[in-house]
C-alpha cells in the first residue's frame, strides 16, 4: 500500500535536516504528551505520545501573539519521524508564514504495536480518537500560544490520517472548524472472510512482528475495530471464526460501524457544521475508488466540500501539496 510513500520517505531521509534558528525560521519542537485516553490498552502502546509541534518564525520573540493550529495525522506503517523526513514541515510552515499565513503545525504519533491506531477507539489498541480530539488539543492549547478556539483549529491527514480526519470530524464535532483529507484510506467498509480470519488466527507473535504491509494491515484494522479483551491469544481480537469454519457476522458489522461511508448518514450535522472541507487524491492512487464512492455519498446528502484529482499516486506529491494546497487552505479558512 505504502511502497511509494516509503520509497519517497527513504529518499528524503538521505537529505540531512538542517537545524534552524529559533527566531527567523520555523522551529521543530519534539515533545511528549500524556494521553489518559491511550492508558490501559492491551497492546502496551505508550500513553506518553511523541508529538511534533512546529512553531512559525517569530513565535519566540512575539510573546503576545497567538496562532491558529493545524493538526496533521500521519499514515499507516509510518511514524511522525518518517512523515517529518518526507514532508519537512518546518519548510512548509516557513513557506506559509512568508505568505502571511502564520500557523502552528502539530503532528501526533498515531503508530501502534501493529503500526497504526487508525485514530479510532479500541480497548486493544487505545482510544487514539479521543487522544487527538481531547487530550492533544487540550495539551497544545495549554502549552503553546494558540488561538484556543475551534474557528482557529484545522485537521488534516494523509491515508490512515485522512481516515482519522473524517472520523474525528464526525465523532467530535465542534473541535476543528475545517478539515482536509489527503488520499484517505478505509472509507468503504472492509469485509473479512472466514479464510482471512483463519489465517489471522494462525499467525504467531513472531509472524505478526515480521509481517509485511499487506499481511499486517487487516490484522491492525481488526485489532482496532473488532477488539476483544477476553481473547486468549496475544492479539486480543475477535476474528469471528466459529468452530464450524463459518464467520460470525458481528465481525463485519463491527467493521462496517467504523466505515465513514457507512457512518455518514448519522453524522451529517457534524460535517454540515464545518467551515470548510477539502478532499484530494492522485489519479493513480489505488484508493481512488473508495474516495469516489465516499464523495458520491457526500453529494447525495448535499454535504459541501472541495475536491481535487491531481496527477499522482498515493504518496509521491504529499510534501508538495502540504505546501501548495493544505496550508493555504487553512490560511484561508482559520481565523487569524
Amino acid at each position: 500500500m505504502f511502497k511509494a510513500l516509503i520509497a519517497t520517505a527513504a529518499a528524503l531521509a538521505a537529505i540531512a535536516a538542517v537545524p534552524v534558528s529559533a527566531q527567523e525560521r520555523a522551529r521543530l519542537n519534539w515533545v511528549e504528551v500524556h494521553s489518559p485516553a491511550i492508558e490501559g490498552n492491551l497492546e502496551g502502546n505508550s500513553a506518553q505520545r511523541k508529538v511534533l509541534v512546529v512553531t512559525p518564525p517569530g513565535y519566540d520573540e512575539n510573546t503576545g501573539k497567538r496562532y491558529p493550529v493545524v493538526y496533521f495525522l500521519h499514515g499507516y506503517w509510518a511514524t511522525p519521524e518518517m512523515y517529518q523526513e518526507m514532508a519537512r514541515f518546518e519548510e512548509a510552515v516557513d513557506g506559509a508564514a512568508a505568505q502571511g499565513n502564520e500557523v502552528i503545525l502539530v503532528m501526533p504519533d498515531g503508530h501502534s504495536k501493529l503500526k497504526g491506531g487508525f485514530y479510532s477507539s479500541s480497548p486493544t489498541v487505545g482510544d487514539y480518537e479521543t487522544f487527538v480530539a481531547e487530550d492533544l488539543v487540550k495539551w497544545v492549547d495549554a502549552n503553546f500560544r494558540t488561538i484556543a478556539d475551534p474557528a482557529s483549529r484545522g485537521l488534516a491527514g494523509h491515508s490512515m490520517g485522512g481516515y482519522g480526519t473524517i472520523r474525528v470530524a464526525m465523532k467530535h464535532p465542534g473541535v476543528f472548524s475545517s478539515i482536509y483529507m489527503m488520499s484517505a484510506c478505509c472509507l468503504d467498509p472492509m469485509q473479512l472472510t472466514a479464510e482471512q480470519a483463519k489465517a489471522i488466527e494462525a499467525m504467531s507473535e513472531a509472524e505478526v512482528a515480521a509481517a509485511q504491509f499487506g499481511q499486517l494491515a487487516p490484522v491492525s484494522t481488526l485489532a482496532t475495530w473488532s477488539p476483544d479483551p477476553s481473547d486468549d491469544g496475544f492479539l486480543k481480537v475477535y476474528t469471528g471464526l466459529r468452530e464450524d469454519g463459518t464467520l460470525d457476522p458481528l465481525v463485519n458489522q463491527r467493521l462496517a460501524a467504523n466505515s465513514p461511508l457507512v457512518m455518514l448518514p448519522q453524522y451529517l450535522p457534524a460535517l454540515n457544521g464545518l467551515e470548510a472541507f477539502s478532499i484530494d487524491i492522485g489519479d493513480k492512487d489505488f484508493l481512488l475508488e473508495g474516495n469516489r464512492a465516499f464523495m458520491a455519498e457526500l453529494d447525495r446528502f448535499r454535504v459541501k466540500y472541495d475536491f481535487e484529482l491531481y496527477d499522482g499516486d498515493h504518496g509521491n506529491r504529499i510534501a508538495e501539496r502540504i505546501r501548495t494546497k493544505v496550508l493555504p487552505f487553512f490560511g484561508e479558512h482559520l481565523d487569524k
Binding site: 477507539s121 462496517a256 460501524a257 448519522q266 451529517l268
Partner: protein
Amino acid sequence: MKALIAGALLALLATPAAAQNITAPPPPIPEGITVEEIKVHGASLEGNLEGNEVERQVMVVLPPSYATNLNKRYPVVYYLHGFAIDGKNFYNFMHVPEAVAKNAAEGNEFIVVVPSTLTKMGGSMYSSSVTTGDFRKFIAHDLVEYIDSHYRTIARRDGRGLAGHSMGGYGTWVIGMTYPEVFDSIWAQSACCVSPRTETVESATAMSQVPYENVDNAGFGMRAGLASAVAWAPNPNNPPFYVDWPIRDGEIDPLVIAKWANNSPLAMVASHVGALKSFDAIGADVGNQDGLVRDDTLIHEELEKFGIAHEWEVYEGTHTDKIGQRFADVVLPFFAEHLDKPR
C-alpha cells in the same frame, strides 16, 4: 418483534387509535406533584424530509418541593418511550407522577421529562437521519438545553439520567454512546433493536412494496421495519419514503445492511468502550417472557466482555407487564443512588 407486539397490546389492553398507535388513560396525579405539558422546539429536527413535527410535545413531572422550595435545584431523568406510542400516552401508561411521588416520599426527588418522538412511521428510533430528523441530538442537546434553561435543574452531567423502554431502551444505548458527556447514568428497559437487523429477499421486497399512503395500516412489525429503514439508511433523493431500500435488483444490498448495523448497539459497543466506561452507572433489564430477552442478554454479555460495569436483571415478566412498576421501584432508585442530590 411478534412477541413484542402481542405483549405490548395485550398488556396495555389498549385500543389502537389512528395509525395504530397505543393509547392509555391519564394517570392519577398524587398531591404535591406538578405536571406540565410543554412544547420544545427541536432545532435538530428542522428540515426533516418526512415532515415530522419540529415542535415536540414534552411531559415534565415536578417533585413535591419544587413549588415551595424556590432555591432548590433537582436532578433530571429523561425517559424515552417505545414504538407506536407518543410521549404523553407513555407517561400515562407508566404512571410517571406516582413514580415520582413514591420516590419523593422515600427522600429522592427528581424531575422526570418524557419527550414525544412519534414520527410518520411510528417512531424516531432516536437516530440521526435527514429523513426523520436528528433525534439523537434533539434529546441530548435541544431538549436538555431547554429543560436546563426553563427549570431549576442540576444543569450538568452529574445531574442527568437517561432511561427508556423498548425503542426507548434502544435510544438510551445509542444516545448514551453518541453523547456520553451529557448523561451521568443510563438504564435501558427491555431494549429493542440491539443486534443488527437483517432481511431476507422476501421480507425486504415486502417492505419496499408498502404503499406510502398505507403505512399507517401496515401493522406494527412492518411499521417498525419501515421506521428503522428511514432512520438508518435515509436517501434524500428517493421520495416518498426517502429511504434506501435493503433490496436492489432483486438482491439484498449489503451497504444498506451495513448502515443498519452501524446503528446497532451490539455492533457499536466495541468502538464506544471509552464512552460506556465514562458513565457513573449503567443498568439494563428485561422480562424473561419478553421476546427480546435473548437480544438483551447479548448486549449484557458484550458489556461483560469489555469489562464495562453494569447492573443487569432478567425478571419474571413480559415486554410490558412490569415496566411501570420497575420504573418506580428499580429505575428511579438506581438514579437516586447515582445522580447528584437536590440542593
